[in-house]
Symmetry: C2
Subunit: 100 residues, 2 copies
Amino acid sequence: MPRLTDSERSELLPTLDGWALVEGRDAITKRFVFGDFNAAFGWMTRVALVAEAMNHHPEWSNTYNRVEVTLATHDAKGLTRRDIELAQRMDQMAAGLVKG
Amino acid sequence: MPRLTDSERSELLPTLDGWALVEGRDAITKRFVFGDFNAAFGWMTRVALVAEAMNHHPEWSNTYNRVEVTLATHDAKGLTRRDIELAQRMDQMAAGLVKG
C-alpha cells in the first residue's frame, strides 16, 4: 500500500469531516465527543471490528465520553488510502452518536 | 469517596502488580502488552463493562496490542479505593492474555 500522492491528498483529504493533519508526522487526527462512556465505547467497539477486518488499526485514547484518534499506515510510514477509508468508516459509525 | 490516606497508600499500593505512580499527579499508570489487537481490545471490552458498572472509568490509549492505562478519581482529584479496585480487576482480567 503506497503513501498517498500529492494529487490524491488534494483530492481525498478535503472530503474528510473534521480530520486534521498531525504536526510533524504524516498522519491525520480527530477528536470525537459522545454523550457518555456507553456511546463512546460502543462506537469504539464497532470501529474495532471494522479495523480488525481491515487489518488496519487506529491509535486512539479514551477518557469517559471523548476519543482522540490518530490514523497512519505503519508499514508505509505515512498516510495511505486505508487511512482515508477507516476515517470515513469511523465518521459513518459516529453519525447520530456524537454531541452537537 | 475520599482520597486515600497515607496509611491506606502504604497498605494498598504495594499490593498492585506493575502499577506506578504518575509523576506530578495523584494517579497510577500501567502499560499492558497483549499478543495482538484481538486480545488487547477484548480485554478493553471486559474492562469497559466493569468500569461502566462501577461508574468509574479509566483514561486509556491503545495502539495495536498495547494499552496504556491511567487511573484516578475525577471527583476526588486523586486516588481513591475505587482506583485500587479497578486496577485489581484489570489485572485479574489480563491474566493469561498479556505477553511474557
